[in-house]
Structures are given as C-alpha cells and as structure tokens.
C-alpha cells in the first residue's frame, strides 16, 4: 500500500497514469500488445538491472548479448537439425520443435560467455578501481566488437528462424494477438518468476542481495563475492539470451543491430523501476512496452524509439530514482 501512496503523491506521475488509462480505454488492442511486448522488455531489463545494480555500471553490451544468442541458436539449429525447415511447427505457433531444443543450449552458451568476458575484462577493471563510466565505456567497446563479429560471421543481412505462417488470434475489441507473442510473454513471465524465486528464496539469492547491498560486509560474513559476481554475470547472460531469442521469434526477424536498438527501452525500463530492483525492472519493462505501443495509436510508428527516449528523459527529470521511490538499492 505504501508504494501506491508514493505513486499517488506525485501529481505529474498520476497525470501520466491517467493519460495511459484514457488512451488504453480508447484503443484497448494497443494496451494488450503493449503488455505482451513489455513482458519481453522486462526479461531483458531484469538482467540489465541485476548487473547495473550489483556491478554499478551500465552494461552497453547487454543488447549485443541478446543478438548473439539469437544467431547462436540459429546456427545450432542449422547444424544440429539441417532439415528443420520442413518439420512441423509447435501447435498454433510459427516456430518449430527444434527451436525449443536448441534454445536452452544457446542460452547457457551466452551465460558462460558472460562469465568468461567478466574474467577477461571486467574483473581486471574492478581491480584497477576503474570508474563506473570507464567500465561502461569498455562494455561499449565490447558491444561494438560483438556486433562486428556477428556481421563478419553471419553477414549484415537479416535472418530468421525456420517458421510457418499461422493465423493471428482474433479476440473481441479488435484485439489481434499473434500466437507467438503470447507464447513469448508466457515464457518471459515464467523465467521472471523463476528468477524471483532464486533471488528471494535461495541462499544464492540471499548472497547476491547481500553483495549488492554492501560488498565489504558480505565478504566479512564469509560470502565469496568474486564467485557471486560470476553468478550475477551468468544469470544476467541467461536472461539476456532468453530475451534475445524470444524477441527474434516474436519479430520473426534477426538483425545484427536489433540488440543495439533495444538498449534505450531496456535502460528506460531499468531506470523507471529503480536500478537494481528486479520487480521494478519487470514493472518498468511492461510500462515502457505499453507506452511505446499506445503512442503508435496517435504518432507515426517509426517514432517509437523517440517515444522511449522521451520516457527516459521524463523519468530522469521527475523520478531519477525510479517510480517505486527507492534509492536504487532495493535488494
């Protein structure tokens, strides 16, 4: 209830919420789309928020982890199941069974890649006592390198997973949902719940939260913080990779720049929810998704990235610590 009070306290914020409600009342189909897309953004932003909150820097390479996971899944699929183009697709969805098999594999590869990259780059930077901006700059360099590598190996053209066209689900109020989008959102929500359980119900989660809150104190109480940081990278990588594959399934398109393009809405979601707050990132992601989709009802859809940018600006102007009103150290 206290959180609700905080929301109602801020007049401008209430105004924004009223505008969103009004808009979704006028065009409800956009609201549904927004929630579904927002759940995918949430999955990406939870991982980003975890790394941002614990390691105290903005990981610019997060988007490119997402792109890379899609390409790795695609390659694994071509390599392990060469005739997946002709196989049957799952139920009402457009993707094939094989994708469900290679997905965990690709996700775990990205998780380990994140851990290795930490050992190669970010651990050294932490030892050098680099500022958070310098570490973020390195992650930017990493993002550029990963994108270059992707374009070198897979080319600059867009790709897609083997798929079969299917009808959209027609619901009342002009709501049309592609079945894939529904599937992706459900998976995103399940992964988010699993992550929540790990963070709040296990010893590992407790250790992660302790390290985030006060690394020195955590070390004194016998937590191996170096190891915890590796877990954080692993979980962050897994979340990014899952989000990446789901987004490329939902868009039916994989492009080398898709991860970079999604960085702004992800960071907006992280800041809306408060840095380092996984629940906040979940809410933030859905809010960003809704705002972006609702805006397309009145504004030229190609301005969607600009809408995300303005949401980011407005949040920084009004509530730089996030709308939940914490100081960015929730866990």
């Amino acid at each position: 209830m206290k959180k609700l009070d905080i929301l109602l306290d801020n007049k401008i914020l209430s105004l924004i919420i009223i505008v969103i409600c009004l808009a979704s009342f006028l065009k409800p189909w956009l609201l549904i789309n927004g929630i579904l897309i927002g759940s995918l953004y949430s999955l990406g932003s939870i991982g980003l928020s975890l790394i941002y909150g614990n390691l105290k820097f903005a990981n610019m390479a997060h988007g490119d982890f997402m792109t890379l996971s899609s390409y790795i899944a695609l390659t694994l699929m071509m390599f392990l199941f060469p005739n997946s183009e002709n196989s049957t697709s799952v139920g009402p969805f457009t993707f094939k069974y094989e994708l469900l098999m290679v997905m965990p594999l690709a996700v775990i590869i990205i998780g380990f890649m994140a851990v290795i990259l930490d050992k190669l780059i970010f651990k050294k930077l932490r030892k050098l006592n680099a500022t958070s901006a310098a570490i973020a700059l390195c992650s930017l360099g990493l993002a550029v390198s990963i994108r270059g590598l992707i374009q070198f190996i897979w080319g600059t053209d867009s790709a897609r997973f083997p798929r079969e066209s299917k009808l959209f689900w027609d619901l009342p109020f002009r709501i049309k949902i592609p079945p894939d989008m529904f599937f992706c959102s459900v998976v995103a929500v399940i992964i988010a719940i699993i992550f929540y359980l790990v963070l709040f119900k296990t010893t590992l989660g407790k250790a992660i939260r302790a390290t985030s809150d006060n690394p020195d104190l955590a070390r004194i109480t016998g937590i191996n913080t170096d190891r915890i940081i590796l877990y954080i990278w692993f979980i962050g990588g897994i979340l990014a990779a899952t989000a990446g594959i789901l987004i490329s399934v939902q868009q039916a398109l994989i492009t080398p720049v898709m991860g970079w393009k999604i960085l702004i809405p992800l960071f907006a979601a992280v800041i809306v929810g408060g840095i380092g707050n996984p629940i906040g990132a979940l809410i933030g992601g859905i809010l960003i998704g809704i705002t972006g989709e609702l805006a397309t009802g009145w504004i030229n859809p190609s301005y969607k990235p600009a809408v995300y940018f303005f949401v980011l600006l407005i949040v920084l102007l009004l509530r730089p610590n996030g709308i939940l009103g914490n100081k960015g150290r929730q866990f």
């Binding site: 930077l125 500022t131 958070s132 310098a134 973020a136 700059l137 930017l140 070198f152």
Partner: protein, 313 residues
Amino acid sequence: MDSILYFFIGFLIMSGIYSVFTVGLNIHWGQTGLFNIGIASFFLLGAYTAAIFSSPSPNLAKYEEYLWGGNFSQLTLLGVDIWFPIILLLSAFICILVAIPLAMVTIRLKEDYLALVTLGLAETLRIVFINETWLANGTRGMYSIPRPFDYINIGNYDYIYFVVVVITLIFVYFIAQKATNSPWGRVLRGIKDNETTMIASGKNVLKFKVEAFAFGAGIMGIGGALFTHGKRFIDPITFEPMLATFIIWSMLMVGGSGNNKGAIFGSFLMWGIWTFTQFLPGFLSDANLRFVFVGLIIILFQLYKPQGIIPAK
C-alpha cells in the same frame, strides 16, 4: 601518381575533420569526465544546420521535398566567402542550444545517465531527419551542398578544402588549448579527479559541467559543418553510430584522453588504420573486422594504457 596524391589528400581532410570531433570529445571525457556516447547527435545537428542554411531553396523540378534553404552561400564580402565561418559558428550555436538543456536534466544525476540520454538523442534525431522529409529531404539526403572558395581554380578542389580544414583545426585546437590551460579548465580537471574536493572549495560543479558539455558540443557542431561542406552530401545513414561515435571514442582512447595533441594524433592514426586496412588481402579487408578492431582498441587501451599513447601532463 596523381590519384594516389588525391587519395592521400582526401585521407588528410577526413582525419582533420575527425580531429575536431576528438578535441570536442576530449573536453567532455578527457577534461571533465562526461560520458557522451551520442557524438553522432552533435555531428548530425552541426552537419544538417550547415547543409540547410547554406543550400539554396529547393528547386521543385528536382522533386526535392525539403521546404527551406537558407542560401547563405551567397553571402560574400569583397569576394571573400565570409559565409563559411558564419555557418561554422551557427552550427556550433545550434549544438550548444541543444546541449545545455540536455546537460541540465542529466548532469545532476549519475554519470551513466548522460551516456544513456546522449545515446537516445542520437537515435531520436536520426529518426526525426528520416521521417520529416520537409526538413532536409529525408532519406534522399541533401546534396550539392555549396563549398567555400569554390571560385579558386587550381585543378583539384581538395587542396583548397585541405587548407580550410587545417585552418579550422588550428583555430579549434587553439581555443581548446586556451580553455584547458585557463583557470576554468583547471576546475574541470579538478572535477574529473575529485569532485568532492571541488564542491568543498566552493565551485559550482554543476555549472562547470554544463558549460564544459556545451563547449564540447559546440566544437563537435563545427566538426559536423566541416564534414558537410567537404563531402557535399549527407543523409541520415551518414550518422550511424559506428563512424559517428565509436570510432571517435577509439581515436581519443588511442591518442590519450586529457591531451588535445594526443586527441589529434589519435584521429590521424585511427583513421589511417581504418582507411588503409581496406587494402589488405582477402578477408582481412572486411569492414566488419574493422568494427571488431575499433571495439577491441577501446577495451585494450582502457585495460592496459588508460592514458593513451600521448598521456596528459
């Protein structure tokens, strides 16, 4: 033989233009520690300001969609193109106008937020210039942009433009050097090294940071205008982040952040590597490998040589 010479002059012109950006970025990152990864936004603003103001009004017969051209290129005094410096200053002014409110919103917050906002601004501006065709011809781009001192005829125009770029670069370097060595510049370096001490000694840190951001953005605007009149063609794709932001970062990292001479040296070195690796045999000349290289340069210099090749004194 001539073609090699022309190629080399073209290379020097581009390096000189990139040097202007790197000096601007040096004010942001090297002096003050402001993390701007949206150089492309000021590049774009400067370039489009110069293009729109200097081009004549559109000729309907060419199916051009933009509505307004300033036609400043008719402005001469005693046969000398005084419009060119006016355009440069105008571009700088527009960039400063955009930079100040942006800085006021974000600089009071965490340092990373400036990076996110500048990144978003670069994307947003690009989308605006793609969609608003009435403003600057959309994706078809502005072309046949007037160039200064076009009436001097010595065979290859690039020689003249090379002189123009060098003079502008010297001018920018002189201003940046003057600012760096002034008391104002010392406060900026103090902010970078230890912000708390600066606050304790009674400096209005926020004001200094906003001023530094605006100053650097203005220099980047001059760079954008120089680019426009050199290339004579710009479209929104010119301002993709790779060639408009990342490579400039790698130049500053290589040359040495905090040092204007280092910044210029880094620009020439990195643009040289970028240009001449396309002559390598086989897959080595692949443009995407150069992306990887630029990214690795940023990481490796941060890890092993954070001061760059020519460190700040």
